[in-house]
């Protein structure tokens, strides 16, 4: 099953199980540009699969209000770049409502979106913006790499009583992998060891997990045995899993596609430095995009997007020092 089909299956499963679950967003009734919501309108009707105008700011607020009053909306924002339009509602309303109301309100909202570069989509359709969200108390943030996690984490997100942002990756949508049917929920906040290794730990999420695994294969041929951890959930973050691995390897590389400066890699690196300074045989190395907008031109975009080469280089840097 493809990653996007797994998302689709998780949505259908949740809608079947719970009549409060509704799907909202632009073109969702037509399946959306990536077919994530294909077939849902046919099965559940257009009252639960709700096409919305191009009004991201308000539609996000509508989903929040709907969640506060009893529904379980799964809102799709077509590109994470447009989450910028909805950030006031997400940050100032959804994330704070439970807290500000002294616990009276709950916002069981899922915001599904997708990000990432590599598709020649230009600077406004290719960003990785999870950093904004991980800095916002009250939100949970999920970035699945595998189809099975895209489905399983989405199922958990829908069941969660808090606003959860699920960030998919456009370059993963048509990857094929085995996914159990029906979808099994994957708990939020639990990382997964994607490859065992002794020499160095690589923490990655979303598309970079595959790059890390390929980097690990490459490094294996050089005699370096890398452990790869797929963080899966950014908030809450499974720091224990990372520390456990680092306590064995003594070296850490953190890899994401977002711009390195101010990226979530800085948080992981800092937290690990703080907690395990004496275990580290080298400073944590961070892999992330250079500090530029995403260029359109193919060769430039390819140079821009961080991948296995940068991960290999970062791993080697942890080994020289």
């Amino acid at each position: 099953m493809t990653y996007v089909k797994a998302v689709n299956a998780a949505l259908a499963g949740a809608m079947r199980a719970d009549p409060r679950v509704v799907v909202m967003g632009e073109d969702v009734a037509e399946g959306g540009p990536y077919t994530a919501t294909a077939g849902l309108a046919e099965e559940f009707g257009r009252q639960r699969v709700i096409d919305t105008p191009i009004s991201e700011a308000t539609v996000c607020g509508v989903a929040i209000g709907a969640a506060q009053s009893g529904l379980r909306p799964v809102l799709e924002i077509m590109y994470i770049d447009f989450v910028a339009l909805a950030l006031d509602q997400l940050v100032n309303q959804a994330a704070k409502a439970h807290f500000m109301s002294g616990g009276q309100l709950r916002v069981p909202l899922v915001l599904r979106t997708q990000g990432g570069a590599g598709h020649r989509s230009g600077a406004q359709h290719s960003q990785s913006l999870e950093s904004w969200l991980v800095h916002t108390p009250g939100l949970k943030v999920v970035m699945p790499a595998r189809a099975v996690d895209a489905a399983g984490l989405l199922a958990s997100a829908i069941a969660d009583p808090n606003p959860v942002v699920v960030i998919e990756h456009k370059a993963l949508y048509f990857r094929r992998e085995d996914v159990p049917d029906p979808v099994e929920a994957v708990p939020l906040g639990v990382a997964r060891t994607a490859r065992n290794g002794r020499d160095v730990t690589i923490v990655a999420f979303s598309r970079l997990v595959y790059e890390a695994l390929e980097a690990a294969e490459q490094l294996a041929s050089e005699g370096i045995d890398a452990e790869v951890i797929d963080a899966r959930t950014l908030v809450p973050f499974d720091l224990e899993a990372v520390l456990g691995s680092v306590s064995r390897t003594g070296r850490l590389v953190v890899a994401h596609e977002a711009v390195r400066q101010g990226g979530f890699g800085a948080e992981i690196a800092s937290a690990v430095h703080e907690a395990a300074f004496d275990l580290l045989r080298a400073p944590v190395q961070r892999v992330g995009a250079r500090f530029t907008p995403v260029p359109f031109s193919g060769p430039l975009e390819d140079a821009y997007v961080p991948g296995r080469a940068e991960i290999c280089a970062a791993v080697r840097a942890t080994l020289v020092s």
Partner: protein
């Protein structure tokens, strides 16, 4: 005491006409530019299943659903007499007048936006609602909360950041929430409450609940994108929602004329075909009448409405505002603007209540406010650990 004026409209809820959920332009629009496409009317084809799809929700575990109707003033629209309206306005007035005293005493802190002069809107709208109707307000929301039945003590305590505050002291003056009384949200981001109200109305619509949502906001919010996007959505989905704009002519220190060429907020929504009316917000009876008509229609499935109340903010934008940007109002003018004085004069002259009864209502309100303020002072600060405990909701209700 029952008069024509005090019971102008029974807000009997009709069943929501589900088939009105619309996905095609009404035939009068024609559909020329969609030629060559699947008939947009097809989009409405699934309407037939809505009833059964949503029927299951009626009994479901809604976060907020309290079909029981409270009976006190401020909780039900069916029994609010003119005298009760007077009492509600007095409660708001005394509450708001107490706030600066608490501020001077260092007890109420932060950004405090009072509604003295605007009580007619709060009483004429919020007091007409049922307890389980949902209300959203903004930064100037004390009066709305009081009229909806939120306890005075919890309000005072909230302004003082105390544990007995309606939000346990975590929200503050701009963020009053009292789910039990249907006050679902107040926001300090101007216009940010409007989409939330659309969302609640959507829930009611999809659940076929007999529930009205009302959102109150100022004239400044009308220039936000939120307002327009929300009006469009509410009209598109024919939601049971009443937009209530308190047009006091100012946004902070700037008159409406510097923000827009459209003087009347009602005119802004004309393209959407919303039912709408502009009324004198200092005339609580007029507000109540107009609101009653619009609310009944919205509740009955006839779609959203907008009520614009022309009103006057007696005090500064917030407590501490020196108000250099406008001249003080004259005594004569205030006599005319003051919704309380006006209702009192009219109520006595129409024979709705006696002057003595009015004085008793005033005294009772004063006493209630004083007592609430006194009790609120006794509340303690919330414990520090509350902060981290309330960032995330737990799976099972805490």
């Amino acid at each position: 005491m029952t008069s024509r004026a005090t019971r102008p409209h029974r807000l009997a809820a009709k069943d929501i006409t589900l088939s009105r959920w619309r996905h095609g332009f009404k035939s009068r629009w024609g559909c020329q530019q969609n030629r060559g496409c699947a008939d947009p009317a097809d989009r409405g084809a699934t309407n037939a299943v809505l009833g059964s799809t949503w029927a299951c929700l009626r009994g479901a575990d809604w976060a907020v659903s309290n079909p029981e109707r409270a009976s006190g003033p401020g909780a039900t629209g069916e029994a609010v007499t003119a005298l009760e309206l007077l009492g509600i306005m007095w409660r708001i007035r005394f509450f708001e007048e107490e706030v600066p005293r608490l501020q001077r005493a260092g007890l109420a802190r932060g950004l405090l936006h009072l509604s003295v002069g605007q009580e007619g809107v709060a009483a004429g709208t919020c007091a007409m609602l049922r307890r389980d109707d949902l209300l959203y307000t903004g930064h100037r929301g004390h009066g709305h909360a009081i009229a909806k039945g939120v306890p005075l003590r919890g309000l005072f305590a909230e302004l003082m950041g105390r544990l007995d505050g309606v939000c346990r002291g975590l929200g503050g003056s701009m963020h009053i929430v009292d789910v039990e009384h249907g006050l679902m949200g107040a926001t300090g981001v101007v216009g940010g409450n409007i989409p939330l109200a659309v969302g609640s109305a959507m829930t009611a619509r999809l659940g076929a609940r007999e529930q009205l949502t009302v959102v109150l906001f100022g004239d400044g919010a009308v220039q936000t994108g939120y307002f327009h996007e929300s009006v469009n959505l509410a009209a598109l989905w024919r939601l049971p929602l009443v937009f209530v704009c308190e047009n006091n002519g100012f946004a902070e220190f700037t008159p409406r004329s510097a923000h827009t060429t459209v003087e009347r907020v009602c005119d802004v929504v004309a393209p959407y075909g919303l039912a709408r009316q502009t009324v004198d917000g200092s005339d609580v009876i007029a507000v109540r009448e107009a609101f009653g008509v619009l609310a009944a229609a919205a509740r009955g499935g006839e779609g959203p409405a907008l009520l614009e109340c022309l009103t006057y903010r007696l005090r500064g934008h917030y407590e501490g505002d020196a108000q250099k940007y406008r001249a003080a109002i004259s005594q004569a003018e205030w006599r005319d603007r003051d919704p309380i004085a006006r209702l009192r004069r009219r109520g006595v002259s129409e024979g709705w209540f006696t002057d003595e009864a009015a004085a008793v209502a005033e005294g009772a309100a004063k006493e209630a406010v004083d007592e609430a303020a006194r009790l609120a002072r006794e509340s303690t600060a919330p414990p520090l650990e509350l902060m981290e405990r309330l960032v995330y909701a737990q799976l099972e209700p805490a």
